[in-house]
């Protein structure tokens, strides 16, 4: 992928999903839109790969899923953060901050 969009770092997808769920429950498509929005379209998630990640997070107990009705009256699965998910988000945000500071330091940008 040789374009000006950044490739997703391994493991960062989880962080992005948790972050996008921070404010309100959302369905899968919404999450992929939100990630695009938040990153001003710099980051795109291959839409399909979102779902295995969602199931994994659900399995770890960080998010939970409930069937509900979407804006346009369709049946959709909504994901929301669990309390442990919130803690996880905090922890991951902190470690990401540390990592990016460190990498910036190495690159001499700081």
């Amino acid at each position: 992928m040789a374009n000006n969009k950044a490739d997703l770092l391994q493991g960062t997808l989880d962080l992005l999903i948790l972050k996008s769920l921070q404010l309100e429950p959302m369905h899968g498509f919404g999450i992929s839109l939100r990630i695009g929005q938040m990153s001003k379209d710099m980051l795109t998630v291959e839409q399909g790969s979102l779902y295995p990640a969602l199931y994994r997070l659900e399995d770890q107990g960080w998010i939970k899923a409930e069937w509900g009705v979407s804006d346009n009256n369709r049946k959709a699965k909504f994901y929301s953060l669990t309390p442990t998910g919130r803690k996880q988000l905090q922890a991951e945000e902190q470690s990401w901050a540390k990592l990016s500071t460190a990498i910036n330091l190495v690159l001499g940008n700081a």
Partner: protein, 927 residues
């Protein structure tokens, strides 16, 4: 808390999803459809036409099948589903090759079976728990000499009372004395293990009788002599579960006892290896135990007695290590109350011994470890063999595997599949092995049961530990034999193997000088090590079989009768009188050259020790085995007097004369290294004897000799061998029977000739004579000396070991030869075309044969070489445990490699010959 709950829930949800797979798939499909619809709408808004918008949405979503697959993997136990798939496939594969499957199962069954059987044996011997409640809390308390830690004693009854009162460590403590008693009616007495116990024995052990009651404190008070007894479940079983057993009468040493209770099944008393059959209250100790020891037999209440073993149950929550201060206080009390008996001694606590009262468990542990090691090698050989078989078969399956790789199968998946196949084989082999193990353990137990007159605790039946171990062996085995081939086979180069002659044996070897198949070499090496061990064992067994020569006695034509008058209710005085009359009658029988009796015979399994000191000598006391003998003993057993004379009739039957003693050459050399021992004087002191593996008569320290008496040495005889495993004969002394009497004796009758076929008649004759003299005398055994040696437990161990190792060695030999043959035959078969070409181009059959043989020889040679080195190591360990076999036993070290080399040579030669018989044209057209 929540996290824990979720963690706990996870497997459950995964497991659920296995069964609700369809529902999960449907939900996922719904979700994805929803996603694509939304994206399509978005695309429409962006101005695409409906068709285009939908395709774009799908494209943006990505590879839907792959993603669903990934999601499923997260969500469910895909590997379990795949495992089931693999298992089904493996079943089909195994069914398709019944010959291969049968061979593999047989090889694995033998390997795993040998291990499971040995484990079962070792488990029973060393690991099986005691049969009472919470065994970890039970500790044995003993009195230890501060200067000589090996001098450990039990207690008298007064000491037991003191310990009970001053004790702060235990919640309660029991006292028990193990005895051998005669059980049954007159003329039909058998030996049984009995425990004379305190009233709290059963409550301390935490066991209740299955029927009836236990002893009251009144009954267990010394001197009360209330004749009541409890019996074991096995005793009840021997009486065919007679419902009237409770309340009936049981004869112990011909005295009637009322059975007041029956213990539950599986309760063996305080020992782990054999069952106590009868329990008696401490109140009857003096009647039951002291008959055998009489004369200087000490009453239970005697302060110098050491008859009572004391076991305590630690207070809940405390450990033996915490007992220190409590023990010190108790030691102080005891020393204050018993200043003489407990002088320079201290109390110690330790877990009770698994075997008899005093034996050490380490020697047995060694043998166990050795057996386990040998069995492990058999399994390793079996696994190597199977790995070879799998590799050879895998070469034929290269094409199939290459096809699967070409169609996109992952390597990991293929490895997993091959491992599943191996595991299935291992499981079937494991079941076969388990059956084999159970069967052989049963045989072993039966054979051991014939040797020993007591009930062994031998759980030969299936038990959880055995199943667990067999399963672990299956898993380990799978890893050893299937992982290597799986890794190798899955590394196929797709294009090469999909081509026509994929099966051909084109081996590009990186290390040309290495043997073509290192696994076969390893297998040969290990097999050789096992074979050598087997040969050493067999050599030892043959030597032990010839052990009659090596006891130092001339026992041709000697008949042996073992009796114990005390078991028939005779006092010591009566017994002596009875024995004298019997000796006279025996001596007068036709064909009998001489007849006499002694308290011990070589390889009886009994050991009576005394400490002997040279009078006036500065040297310390030496320990010596003693034997009380009559005046004709040396003549009867063919032991020549080297110096001096034998005992006279008066010396042998009366205690009044001057004390005399005969010693053996070994002791003479130790005590009087400078010269003649005859005419010198020595002094005896009593020591606690350490009984062997069997229950003793309580007669152990009953020697009539007083420690302050000095004895004149009147004769010297050659040393005899009492113990198969001792490296050199011990010093030994012979006391006249009157001074060293035990009611448990062996009569020796020397016949002019005693053909084996007349043995039964002789036994009948002797039984009739005993019946005429005194019908109440219990005959414990009646057989020729040769048969006595056959029945020796140590000889049994060596012979059983030889049988076991012969089986192991034979197995290893078969496996090695089959393995070598299989691999060579297979590689030759695969090279049929190559050989055809060589021969078509004019190669001579002999040249081709030599080529194949050369390859075999490298394999064989390297295997044997490593094997010899291995054998040197294992031989050293084995020979140290064996009877008179050198680690470098020349016979073992020529026969074992020789047999293996010859067998392996034929394994090479037959395929080589067959290869050159092939018509070149047929060979070229093959495949």
């Amino acid at each position: 808390m929540r996290t824990i709950l979720i963690t706990l829930m996870k497997p459950y949800r995964k497991f659920r999803s296995l069964f609700f797979k369809e529902q999960f798939d449907a939900e996922m499909a719904d979700e994805i459809r929803h996603h694509v619809e939304l994206q399509t709408e978005l695309n429409l808004k962006a101005g695409m036409n409906p068709e285009e918008a939908r395709f774009a949405a799908l494209r943006q979503f990505g590879n839907m099948t792959a993603i669903q697959e990934q999601a499923r993997e997260v969500k469910s136990w895909v590997w379990l589903e795949q495992f089931m798939q693999d298992l089904r496939y493996a079943c089909r594969q195994l069914r398709r090759n019944p010959g291969f499957t049968a061979a593999a199962v047989a090889v694995l069954g033998l390997g795993i079976g040998a291990n499971a059987a040995v484990f079962n044996f070792v488990h029973t011997l060393l690991l099986a728990p005691f049969t009472y409640a919470r065994p970890a809390e039970i500790m044995r308390i003993s009195s230890q000499d501060k200067r000589n830690p090996r001098d450990v004693r039990d207690f008298s009854y007064p000491a037991y009372r003191e310990i009970l009162e001053g004790n702060t460590i235990f919640s309660d403590a029991l006292a028990s004395a193990l005895l051998e008693v005669g059980v049954g009616e007159k003329g039909d007495t058998r030996r049984a293990a009995a425990a004379v116990v305190s009233a709290n024995y059963f409550s301390v052990l935490g066991v209740r009788p299955a029927q009836g009651r236990t002893f009251s404190p009144e009954e267990a008070t010394p001197g009360r002599a209330t004749p009541v007894a409890l019996v074991s479940h096995s005793y009840w079983k021997k009486h065919h579960f007679d419902p009237a057993l409770l309340g009936s009468t049981l004869h112990i040493n011909t005295r009637p006892f009322t059975i007041i209770g029956i213990m539950p099944e599986g309760f063996a008393g305080t020992t782990a290896l054999f069952y106590t059959e009868v329990w008696l209250p401490l109140g009857v100790y003096d009647q039951v135990a002291n008959e055998a020891t009489a004369e200087n037999g000490r009453a239970l209440t005697d302060r110098t007695s050491t008859a009572l073993m004391i076991l305590g149950r630690l207070k809940p929550g405390s450990k033996a290590a915490d007992a220190g201060s409590g023990l010190q206080a108790l030691t102080a009390t005891l020393v204050a109350v018993f200043p003489v008996e407990q002088k320079d001694r201290q109390l110690t606590v330790a877990p009770p011994s698994r075997f008899a009262s005093n034996s050490n468990d380490t020697a047995v542990a060694w043998v166990g470890a050795l057996l386990l090691g040998m069995a492990a090698i058999v399994l390793l050989v079996a696994c190597l063999n199977l790995a070879n078989m799998l590799l050879a078969r895998g070469t034929a399956r290269r094409k199939e595997i290459a096809l699967r790789l070409a169609l996109g199968g992952g390597r990991a998946r293929i490895i997993r599949q091959l491992l599943t196949e191996g595991f299935l084989l291992a499981l079937i082999g494991g079941v076969a092995g388990l059956l084999l193990a159970l069967w052989s353990s049963g045989l072993l137990a039966a054979s051991l049961g014939r040797m020993i007159p007591i009930d062994l605790v031998w759980n030969a039946g299936p038990q959880p530990a055995l199943f667990a171990v067999t399963f672990v062996l299956c898993v380990l085995g799978t890893l050893v034999f299937a992982l290597g081939p799986a890794l190798k086979l899955s590394r196929s180069e797709v294009m090469v193997h999909l081509k026509e002659h994929a099966g051909e044996d084109i081996v590009r070897r990186r290390w040309k000088f290495l043997p073509r198949n290192p696994l076969v070499s390893a297998q040969l090496a290990l097999s050789l090590a096992l074979l050598t061990c087997a040969a050493l064992f067999i050599r030892s067994a043959t030597r032990a079989g010839a052990g009659a020569m090596e006891t130092g006695l001339k026992t041709d034509g000697v008949f042996l009768m073992e009796v114990d008058a005390s078991l028939g209710g005779h006092s010591q005085k009566q017994a002596q009188e009875l024995y004298r009359r019997l000796t006279e009658r025996f001596g007068a029988l036709p064909g009998v050259e001489s007849a006499d009796l002694s308290t011990d015979v070589p390889l009886s399994g009994l050991d009576f020790e005394k400490r002997v000191r040279r009078v006036g000598g500065a040297a310390g006391a030496k320990s010596a085995k003693w034997n009380g003998v009559g005046e004709n003993y040396f003549k009867s057993v063919g032991l020549p007097l080297l110096r001096g004379r034998a005992f006279t009739f008066a010396e042998a039957t009366q205690k009044e004369g001057p004390p005399v003693v005969i010693i053996n050459e070994e002791l003479a050399k130790e005590l009087w290294p400078e010269g003649d021992a005859v005419g010198q004087r020595l002094q005896l002191e009593n020591v606690e004897s350490t009984p062997g593996a069997s229950v003793q008569n309580g007669a152990v320290d009953s020697a009539a000799a007083k420690s302050d008496e000095t004895y004149e040495v009147v004769g010297m005889v050659p040393a005899t061998r009492h113990n198969l495993f001792e490296s050199a004969p011990d010093g030994g002394i012979y006391l006249p029977l009157a001074r060293g009497f035990k009611s448990h004796v062996f009569f020796q009758l020397k016949f002019a000739s005693l053909p084996p076929e007349s043995e039964a008649a002789t036994a009948d004759l002797l039984r009739r004579v005993v019946g005429e003299v005194d019908a109440t005398l219990p005959i414990l055994s009646l057989r020729s000396f040769a048969r006595h040696l056959d029945g020796n437990i140590q000889i049994w161990i060596v012979r059983a070991g030889a049988a076991l190792f012969s089986v192991f060695g034979g197995l290893a030999l078969c496996l090695a030869v089959v393995g070598a043959y299989g691999v060579i035959a297979y590689s030759v078969a695969r090279r049929t075309r190559e050989i055809g070409i060589r021969m078509a181009l004019g190669a001579h059959p002999a040249t081709v044969q030599r080529m194949i043989l050369r390859e075999g020889a490298v394999m064989l040679g390297s295997g044997l070489l490593i094997g010899v080195v291995l054998s040197l190591g294992t031989g050293k360990i084995v020979s140290s445990l064996l009877y008179r076999v050198n680690a470098l036993d020349p016979v073992a070290f020529t026969v074992a490699p020789g047999v293996l080399a010859v067998a392996a040579f034929f394994a090479c030669w037959i395929p080589a010959r067959r290869a050159t018989k092939v018509d070149p044209m047929v060979a070229l057209r093959s495949e």
